[in-house]
Symmetry: C2
Subunit: 404 residues, 2 copies
């Protein structure tokens, strides 16, 4: 086997590949003439004419009015109208399930959060998800696909998660059996942080031109998705980049996964919640709150200037920073984007993350890596669930339309 | 940008890609007829005839006698004689430099170790390397390339290592400026453990069909090379998969890289050497030995049954095991191959590594991942240095021969 991706060789896959490249060109560059596409992709005008004719016939792209071509000649524009096709994104966290409808550029048309999930209401939640998705599909005929983001480690061939710290009940759900063929449109499942990385890759103007980026999810779980040299790192079973279960202290706190000192045990919202319950004073009534509400109460108190709350946020941020140092040494991305609930702790949190990283990393790497908080309008994992499906739409159009 | 590797598009790159695919087919499958190659690669007979004619003319491949074709028809065989071309591999560790000459299948034709390097003899060592390589090239005209394996983190565009724990002097060497154009043959430089991963990918019959493998180098440094889905993970600057600088204890031992609790501080030969010097009794005279000799003295004592030595080897093995758990959660390879000096500690060492990993990892991952000691005849990083060049030879034949 070569070290480079095997080239598409059969005629069918060559056609699909060229079709995909044309769609991607229109997606990323907007309205373009056939001549511009031919030049950019090094394809013959004849091939462009043939493929775009089929894409127009199938209703995927359309002709616009004249646009300015080279040497001031006018030519007809082609457009992939990214608002015409809609995608459902579903994010599963432990206790949080969110469902959004997005256009192909990740703009949210609707977004809802289902009632808080408990270990004994997982089955009910699954029923509600079926109902809501069926209903959304009936209401909006522009929906062409569903993407789902699930907590890792997600065993992609088996269709289930290998560990869900603090809510083992999700492990019994086989996502493939439960959802993959349940609806009239193609459905794709991805580990949540990997979906978040795709969301930034496709939808975030600040980084989407970068082939090396990481989305660092710090919420009910701690996860990571890495795009390295333009491709997601998956690992053999899909269980790579599980930063939440990398130990930062081999003599530290035990974790449900069997490991000791997992990063997730120090900075996820369940870990924060535990610390607040142990503390007993800082957030009164913490024991009766959800993980998210307890963490948010702490962040609010810190933002109001409470010194003990600030100290706790800074100590959490140091662990998030240790995770960034591990990401530097493990994956050396150009951008780390931190998202999910813990990133709501704001500027003081990011400041402490950065100073921790500066202190503990190799200067050459620190100086060439950006670390920022996610600024996508919807949560990166839920828009990322949509991004998973958008990626498939752009790469394998024949799965969605009769274009051959 | 697409998530899939951009397809070769210009005619020249298509030809080079097909040439490379034919060479790789012959490399991996041995003598084959034109018809067999055409079928395997889905290329037209005309393309095969044209490309192989040029490869024969340039002396890269040759025709053999008749071989048995399909339907018992005889046809002419084509062969890439892997013993006809030689490659020099150079391994730089901190104090160890090895130079080997290999054939294209990684069989060592010669192997030498230079005198132990000290911080103040680095410049002399560089001079000696120039002399030896020049001499080897003069003596053996079959040598077509040189590969070099250097300690990571190696900043591949800059040509230098960012940290070399325990021998900072190597940092001042710019490997690209020093060596890249110094000889009459192409020269390639790679991080040492990544070179080791390539050695196993190309030369190790036990794993070379796997697209997901990791070489875990535990010697003067601790390094990792990961082939994920058929491609090396490099990171933005080439500083990814630096397992030696991933912390296993954020409150632990400080490291030269700025981080605290780096794995390298617990199981590299310099770390073992420090422990033996502190101990003072277990290996008498350890202070006057090289790192390697001190570590080997400990392993010998443990193999002879000394209980204190056994306990120290087991404690080192546990840290190597913690590293494997990090590799599971970070990269989820199918195979982890442990190599370099510390792997000489043998079966008792491997046993403790495995039991540590079983204890601390997710069962689904433990049960689907093999962890073995390297069994390549030469050290994986020095044969890996050659593998780096072999990979280039197979992927970019036009760099080596006039075949266009």
């Amino acid at each position: 086997m070569a070290l480079e991706a095997k080239q598409a060789t059969s005629q069918a896959s060559v056609s699909e590949s060229n079709r995909s490249r044309i769609l991607q060109h229109l997606y990323h560059h907007g309205i373009s003439s056939r001549a511009q596409i031919a030049k950019a992709l090094d394809l013959t005008p004849a091939a462009i004419t043939k493929i775009t004719a089929r894409l127009i016939e199938a209703g995927v792209i359309e002709e616009t009015g004249d646009i300015e071509g080279s040497k001031n000649r006018r030519s007809i524009g082609l457009e992939l109208d990214t608002t015409r096709f809609h995608i459902i994104g579903v994010k599963f966290a432990r206790s949080l399930v969110q469902i959004g409808v997005f256009d192909l550029c990740g703009n949210a048309l609707s977004l809802e959060t289902l009632p808080t999930v408990y270990d004994n209401t997982i089955d009910d939640t699954v029923v509600v998800i079926h109902q809501r998705l069926t209903q959304l599909l009936a209401e909006d005929k522009s929906i062409v696909a569903i993407g789902m983001a699930v907590p890792g480690p997600y065993l992609r061939n088996e269709g289930r998660t290998a560990v869900v710290s603090s809510m083992q009940g999700w492990r019994k759900i086989n996502f493939i059996n439960e959802f993959a063929s349940a609806f009239g449109v193609p459905l794709f499942i991805e580990q949540d942080a990997r979906a978040g990385a795709l969301a930034h890759y496709l939808f975030d103007p600040a980084v989407h031109t970068s082939d090396n980026l990481a989305y660092y999810l710090v919420g009910e779980g701690v996860g990571l998705g890495v795009i390295e040299n333009g491709r997601l790192i998956n690992g053999y079973l899909g269980a790579a980049t599980e930063i939440g279960h990398i130990s930062v202290d081999v003599n530290g706190r035990p974790c449900d996964c069997g490991n000791i000192g997992c990063l997730e045990r120090y900075c996820s919202t369940p870990a924060i919640h535990d610390m607040l319950i142990d503390d007993g004073v800082l957030v009164p009534g913490a024991a009766d709150m959800t993980h998210t509400d307890a963490a948010r109460a702490l962040f609010r108190k810190a933002q109001e200037g409470d010194e003990q709350a600030i100290a706790m946020v800074r100590s959490i941020a140091r662990y998030v920073g240790y995770g960034c140092v591990t990401i530097f040494n493990g994956f050396n991305p150009k951008h780390i984007i931190i998202g999910d609930i813990v990133s709501e702790a704001g500027p003081m949190f990011l400041e402490e993350v950065l100073s921790t990283v500066e202190e503990r990393s190799i200067p050459e790497i620190y100086n060439t890596t950006s670390i920022t908080l996610s600024t996508l309008s919807a949560d990166a994992a839920v828009s990322g669930a949509a991004a998973v499906a958008v990626t498939q739409f752009l790469e394998h159009p024949s799965v969605f339309f009769d274009v051959s």
